[in-house]
Symmetry: C2
Subunit: 406 residues, 2 copies
Amino acid sequence: MWFLVDSCSASDHTLKHPGRHAPGKRRVGVCFVGEGAVNDCEDTRVSIAATALQRQIGIDLPIIQSPMAGVQGSALAIAVSNAGGLGSLPCAMLGIDAMREELEAIRAGTARPFNVNFFCHAQPAFDAVRESAWRRSLSDYYREFGIDPNEIPQGQGRRPFDAAAADALAEFAPPVLSFHFGLPSAELLARVRAWQPTVMASATTVDEARWLQDHGADVIIAQGAEAGGHRGMFLSNDVSTQIGTFALVPQIVGVVKLPVVAAGGIADARGVAAALALGAAGVQVGTAYLLCPEATTSAVHRAALQRESARNTALTNLFTGRPARGIVNRLMRERGPMSVAAPEFPLAGAALAPIRAKAEAAGNGDFSALWCGANASGCAEIPAAQLTRALLAHVPGYVDLPTEAG
Amino acid sequence: MWFLVDSCSASDHTLKHPGRHAPGKRRVGVCFVGEGAVNDCEDTRVSIAATALQRQIGIDLPIIQSPMAGVQGSALAIAVSNAGGLGSLPCAMLGIDAMREELEAIRAGTARPFNVNFFCHAQPAFDAVRESAWRRSLSDYYREFGIDPNEIPQGQGRRPFDAAAADALAEFAPPVLSFHFGLPSAELLARVRAWQPTVMASATTVDEARWLQDHGADVIIAQGAEAGGHRGMFLSNDVSTQIGTFALVPQIVGVVKLPVVAAGGIADARGVAAALALGAAGVQVGTAYLLCPEATTSAVHRAALQRESARNTALTNLFTGRPARGIVNRLMRERGPMSVAAPEFPLAGAALAPIRAKAEAAGNGDFSALWCGANASGCAEIPAAQLTRALLAHVPGYVDLPTEAG
């Protein structure tokens, strides 16, 4: 935190315990310097917390690209890592073989640190009664699109982190792992500790942040309610507990000793500077990358992101069974974004898959999960490396970054 | 915005159009200087947008104390205005005579600018069927507390701004007026324009901000979902449209030409710095003042704010009929915080009043509206002047402020 540190010199104490400075001490001076100006106290230009996080992970920039299952793979991760940030590979929708291929691509594409992300939900038992009630509730749509609901396969949806994934990971020894919906079991976590990765996990409340610290996370991702995609909530399923980034980040920084990464609503350099001001050691940015050529975002999703209506997002459980933020579309409007009828995560999606497929084939996203954060203003059709650097333009300590692609 | 301005010298152009700088120009240098250090480009230490807002209103600090009906009156407003911020008098729960007395107290207590706040809802017709259904739904509580529901008076609750209030205001000519739930009618607004006040109004979405700009507001208060008390929403009653401060502020700054004040989740100097980084010209802070001696916060409310459970807030319509953020208590837990049974704002409160009174008499806030933002970490039992100055400690341009009370 570049304006709450003790003094010009970053002591070991402040590096080891960002945000935990001795009371009574006062900052002496911090200079923010731009193009052409002279900087006379160089060692404090950067956020102390960000510097510590960068050293811990081995990255140049405190920018983590959010893992976004279904809309990106290795290409986006490689581009962001090569630009000096931390690229992420989401594995929740990949089988072991596909994951291995993607990891090989990353190893071939970059020598920089990268992150591999998994979901940690408990896979629910299939509930035939609930599933058939859910399908009945969608019968108007089946009729509209000429779909026989009896021919829809039962789907697995996302898969949780497991021993097979841990085994496959071991040979790649990814330097960073991140988890959503809590942490894997102590046994699984011990297994991945073998190659000493940095373990990050999402907290959506102060209680979750404390829990993650107590259960072995190295870095807390404070996921504010503005974030696109799935809420990482795991101690409660009450969405009224989900608060915005502005309130969540400083409260988590205030109670945990770990570095805190801010996520949710961060779309540009102003947002990055604000997050660092709130005490974050870095930021996780997802939505802004969705239009990059390296993302695999679908055509209907890309189109939706570019309309002004991308401002209208809501938390919805219709597409998977868990609350996630997406652009409001016809299904969300007609059913209400949150429904008690939706089967447990991740089973809700199977019944919608054929409707979505037919709608998307006709060029509409009325039944697609158009994941998007509450601030899509940073989306730009530019290479991910350029976007990554632009996120730090004008931010103290990073102002001299080149912003051209590369 | 202290790191996105054109150059060291604040031109008239940037002062008149904060956030609207000519493209292509680049910042040269901004120095943030603390205790004992030398500052060699003084004119850019402060946010350009904040400087413009301060000049427009005639205040020293870009801090607006949120008007909080029911928990504060003239004393808090006077203290904040005398400290250099903008104190606010909430009038939604005051009759004309009471309002006049409070305004006289403010005139006697400070020569500095102050703000007078009103609600702009349409008073609904009393609906006897809905009211009796609402009371029936509360019958268990009436029994528990020995209350005869037939003896509960029908209550008015909050009153909207009207001609009588405008007439009474004229003699005091308050320099700033702020409105919640939209703006008063064009006729009423023209009447108050007679004394040329600055007119502020709350926007909870980008659409509302545009609407307020088009309908005569001078300053937009971007009220993020973290804010305590009533959501100012007026173009929609769908709470899923309510997004966090981090996402709301930059998007509103991006589309309106007016100064934007950030509200919601701002509890300390880090929050103020972050809000300015996001492009806000100032901040509106409410919750942090609730424990100040000048506030009239009730004993049960003060106690609730000091418990760790103050972190658990939710939007609820149970207490008034409109969504407002408060600390989760027994009523909210047992009924769910949002209920379709609650009568229209502001009529829902009457049926609860005797239950709340009996509970509060026994020292519990189970049925009280414990308004509180999603970040109560800034609450402190210190004089409001001291709190106001502390909100700017370490913030660029304000670091030399004395922080002792006075």
